[in-house]
Amino acid sequence: MISLKKRFLAELIGTFFLVYIGAGAAVITLMISGGATPPNPFNIGIGTLGGLGDWLAIGLAFGLTVTVLIYAIGHISGCHINPAVTLGLWATKKFPSNEVIPYIVAQLIGASIASFAFAASVGMQAVTVGGLGATTPFEGIGYFQAILVEIIGTFLLMMVIMGSAVDKRAAPGFAGIAIGFTVAGVITTIGNITGASINPARTFGPYLADLILGGNNLWNYFPIYVIGPIVGAVLAAFIYDYISSEDVLYKKEVIREREQ
């Protein structure tokens, strides 16, 4: 197997691109719509240009990046690029305990570097106007509602990972496409509810860079993006294992099946 050091680097690079391209798309959308008057408080600028199409564009930036990263580094590190995915696999004993912390640290570092790199690429407007793509609950969305939404979004993501990649019965080679589509779809719908993190690292990077570069301090929202994704991913992993496991047939049932 490839050494943990190299897999650490692969996870770091993968999460870097996820945040640079994905969260970067949110920043650019906010910068493009800067100056336009949003029609209601639920609209912060993303949606001003093309309605839900704005979120589809951001979702596709994330989804397409996830797809290509799965094909690029999936065989090296597993391309989790998401602490919730790492923990979901670990909880169901599919990932070794001693590698969980290094993977999560790599993901957090990669996401943080990406946010600083995006600010360096675009300038301070990326922080002041775009907030570096940081996720927060939208107008009228409560703390627990936001956690629920993140649970549901990450549940679907993990369910698709389990069904299209972990399950040996899955059609080989299609996981990247299925997971990329899932990410894009989830972000399109829940983007304007919680910002659609479904990944604690994806929120950590922009939060840290915003704080250091003089943007908003949003850390009071961070528990939403830790609890929601982790609960969603772990739940999905256990439930998928349960629903996909073969039932043990008792002797009478075996005889009945043979007679049919």
Binding site: M1, I2, R7, I70, G74, H75, I76, S77, G78, C79, H80, V85, L89, K94, F95, I161, A165, V166, A175, G176
Partner: protein
């Protein structure tokens, strides 16, 4: 079975192996013993290399094709 490559050179030599790709009989001078690394597993798990590579006997033609990808 005779070595097909030797036959092309006008020699009559017994074959020692069969090319795993095309099935050609080949003698010890014409066979190529290739050890292919086998990697198992992919997303969301890192790939693992099998301890033992897969041994393969190939003829020169198939070996060239194999090397060129």
């Amino acid at each position: 079975m005779k070595c097909y490559m030797c036959a092309l050179e006008g020699k009559d030599t017994d074959a020692l192996a069969i090319c795993i790709v095309c099935g050609m009989g080949i003698c010890k001078d014409h066979l190529i013993h290739e050890k292919v690394e086998i990697w198992e597993g992919s997303f969301p798990f890192p790939s693992k290399k099998h301890e033992k590579p897969l041994p393969r006997f190939l003829c020169e033609w198939c070996y060239e094709a194999f090397q060129s990808g």
